[in-house]
């Protein structure tokens, strides 16, 4: 499983951080909105459910998961 984010779309709502803090962090930026940072690009299988929830509940559809 590989996690990708589209930073053009991220406004730092932090839902991903609530759903799966093992994989996602949201970091303040020099300028503008905070943005998501992927802590583990290829997370272990046992985190799949949480990663998928983060992708699904992201209000801006920033996160995609590839197999």
């Amino acid at each position: 499983m590989k996690v990708k984010v589209d930073l053009d779309l991220c406004q730092g709502h932090s839902v991903c951080l609530g759903e799966c803090p093992e994989v996602f962090d949201v970091v303040e930026q020099e300028d503008g909105y905070p943005q998501v940072v992927v802590l583990i690009e290829e997370p272990p299988e046992e985190l799949r459910k949480k990663v998928m929830s983060a992708a699904m509940f992201c209000p801006n559809r920033v996160i995609t998961v590839e197999d």
């Binding site: 053009d8 839902v15 300028d31 503008g32 905070p34 509940f57 801006n60």
Partner: protein, 448 residues
């Protein structure tokens, strides 16, 4: 772009039928959905029209819309396209702030809408909905445009400005807000500073609102209490140099948040309830889903509303067919090439949410209300909240609010039309889509 390079490029086709005086504005004002559809049909992906003197290029289809949403602000400027909002929000706020201060203000606004605050808002909204229906009795009739206007004013002021303000809120706040709203209409895009009674009323309302907010802020600063609402987040937010927002800026940010979130949510709520009344077969599915989720007497909360798939699809379909916003605009700051066409500096580019949502390629039989539709895979085809860096920051709040309202309503009441379905058409004047006024429904307490 050099003159030689520009000469190589084609110019976007110009939409026929411009009038001498207002260009396409009169036709746009009459029925903007019909006008936009005509413009799209004539020009295809790019169609240029005269929006009260401003040359405006409508960009249609997900490819062109993606360019619209992904192009950075330095090239397609949101602030320059929305100068009409400056006298409403006030000086130094958002579209009138320097790019750096504007970014900070928008960031502070999103901070108030982040995951952590949303949990507080969920219970606030649930409480407001309970209060709203507490005197409904077993059956009756309700005019839903007015009812949703009031409910969303209560939720918005409660989440933004706190419980005390919400409960001590006078008629005055309602009326000031109304004057501000009346200050934005099609003619404002021609010149928002012309001598007009509506603009004078707008300026008086802005001034008085700042007095009210300043008083509230001063009381809070003196009290040192914690509130967990948006105003608290706005008051504690800082610029890069460590300074806080001024009272003028706080007032402006509150107005901006109300403007973005209030009439849109109010219209979407009314639109959703109307579709529920029109489609008892789908309403039954929603009720079954909610009964299951709340079967153990669970309260409406952020957690209980996390996933309500049928209701979410239903709301998505309402937002597809009845998107609360007309068109989104950006001012072109540098010449841009798109598919061999020149998008010239100084013009405006626009995307129509409505037109995008009735594209049969992505939404077969587009005028049919069908909550079982799959959202298209293609990004930027379904854009009820816009997209990219300027996507509506309140989108999660808006959906949460609608889920809370309908979680409460549908578990208690059934709704039906009181007249023939044709009486409930959408009205498309004044640059919004909403059910025709009055929109009366009958409700009955559920006995099943």
């Amino acid at each position: 772009m050099s003159e030689a390079a520009k000469a190589e490029l084609k110019r976007p086709p110009i939409v026929s039928g411009a009038s001498k005086e207002g260009g396409h504005m009169p036709e746009f004002e009459k029925d903007y959905c019909a006008f936009i559809s005509r413009a799209h049909a004539e020009g295809g992906e790019l169609a240029e029209f005269d929006f009260g003197g401003q040359e405006t290029i409508l960009m249609s289809g997900p490819d062109a819309q993606e360019v619209f949403f992904r192009t950075p602000d330095e090239v397609f400027s949101q602030a320059q396209a929305y100068q009409v909002m400056v006298p409403v929000f006030g000086p130094g706020v958002i579209f009138d702030a320097t790019p750096e201060r504007c970014k900070t203000q928008l960031k502070i606004q999103v901070d108030a809408l982040r995951y952590q605050n949303m949990k507080n808002y969920a219970s606030v909204i649930a409480q407001e909905v309970e209060d709203w229906i507490s005197d409904w009795g077993d059956e009756g009739e309700v005019e839903i445009l007015h009812a949703f206007h009031e409910l969303t004013m209560h939720t918005a002021t409660h989440c933004l400005l706190g419980k005390e303000f919400r409960h001590s809120m006078t008629e005055e706040f309602f009326s000031l807000y109304k004057d501000l709203q009346a200050g934005v209409q099609a003619i404002s895009f021609v010149d928002p500073y012309m001598q007009q009674p509506v603009f004078a009323a707008r300026d008086r309302a802005r001034e008085r609102l700042e007095e009210i907010i300043s008083e509230l802020v001063a009381t809070r600063r003196a009290s040192g209490k914690e509130y967990g609402d948006a105003l608290e987040t706005f008051m504690t937010g800082t610029y890069k140099d460590g300074s806080h927002l001024t009272d003028t800026e706080l007032t402006g940010l509150i107005i901006a948040t109300m403007f973005a979130g209030h009439h849109t949510s109010s219209g979407a709520g009314a639109g959703t309830l109307l579709e529920i009344a029109k489609h008892p077969e789908y309403a039954a599915e929603l009720k079954a889903e909610l009964d299951e989720i709340y079967k153990d007497g669970e309260e409406i909360s952020h957690a209980s509303m996390r996933a309500i798939p049928k209701l979410e699809s239903f709301i998505n379909e309402v937002l597809r067919l009845h998107p609360p916003l007309v068109i989104l605009m950006r001012r072109v700051m540098e010449d841009v090439e798109y598919n061999g066409y020149l998008i010239e500096k100084g013009k405006t580019v626009a995307v129509s949410i409505y037109e995008s949502h009735i594209n049969p390629e992505y939404f077969p039989d587009p005028h049919k209300f069908d909550p079982h539709r799959q959202e298209p895979e293609r990004m930027f085809a379904y854009i009820p909240f816009g997209g990219g860096r300027h996507k509506c920051a309140g989108n999660a709040f808006a959906i949460l609010q609608l889920k809370a309202i309908f979680s409460a309503l549908l578990r208690r009441y059934d709704f039906e039309l009181v007249g023939p379905a044709e009486d409930y058409e959408d009205e498309r004047a004044n640059m919004t889509i909403r059910p025709k006024d009055p929109c009366i429904l009958r409700y009955k307490r559920r006995t099943d």
